[in-house]
Symmetry: C2
Subunit: 144 residues, 2 copies
């Protein structure tokens, strides 16, 4: 590990770090693919933060309003999401997670976490400390 990172070394580190994160992500995402489709998982994760309107969800997920409309129809039909009238705006609606929706989210996450846990199970404490520190740095960096 160099003591000082040149511009070029930073670029190489960025590329390698991105690559390994994407490989981790790809592998983890392959766990429990039957439970929820990716776009469904994303919407449920948004609703976990609190009640949202369809237009909010469409913007947060970068999809069109009609696409979100269909996705929400599927999720409410499956009993994972609940729909209420918006008391503030007669055109709109408020979506929220049902207990089944929460359970589905939890099951998918548990599968992905189990995969990651197995990966790091045999690492020495020193490596875990390094990963722990990196996790904190990355969390800051991605939050920007």
């Amino acid at each position: 590990m160099p003591e000082h990172y040149s511009q070029q070394a930073r670029r190489r580190l960025a590329a390698d770090l991105r690559g390994v994160c994407m490989r981790v992500s790809r592998r983890a995402r392959f766990e429990n693919t039957d439970e929820l489709a990716p776009h469904q998982f994303s919407v449920l994760a948004q609703l976990e933060k609190g009640t949202r309107r369809p237009v909010d969800l469409a913007r947060a997920e970068s999809v069109s309003a009609p696409s979100m409309s269909r996705t929400l129809a599927g999720l409410t039909g499956a009993g994972l999401v609940e729909r209420q009238d918006d008391p503030q705006d007669g055109r709109s609606a408020l979506l929220s997670l049902t207990p089944q929706g929460r359970d589905a989210l939890r099951r998918v996450r548990r599968s992905r976490d189990a995969w990651m846990s197995e990966r790091i199970a045999d690492l020495p404490d020193a490596d875990l400390a390094t990963l722990d520190a990196a996790r904190a740095i990355l969390a800051e960096v991605v939050a920007r």
Copy 2:
């Protein structure tokens, strides 16, 4: 950072680490989405390793033979992939990257890397060293 990681601490670390990797991946993937669709990018990345038959690509990408057939038709039509007869097997074909295919891969990667570079640009050398060490550990861990 704890000196010893309990079973529970390992599970929590695994979950948090997975989460941050998936966030990094998600953000990086959003760069340059117009250049190549995800399934196209994946196939080009496979072909970067060398010439492949359609059946090999379908297996590697976990898609059906007809799906790969369509994807390859699109890529050859766009001039990103080249098709040759397989001298070993008259039923099959050999696909390889064209220079344009290589360029497309490079452009997408460059966009993603640029995003990551910007994220870590202002970090002190100590943080970069931590990320560097974590990158090496994760690369080992994912390769298994």
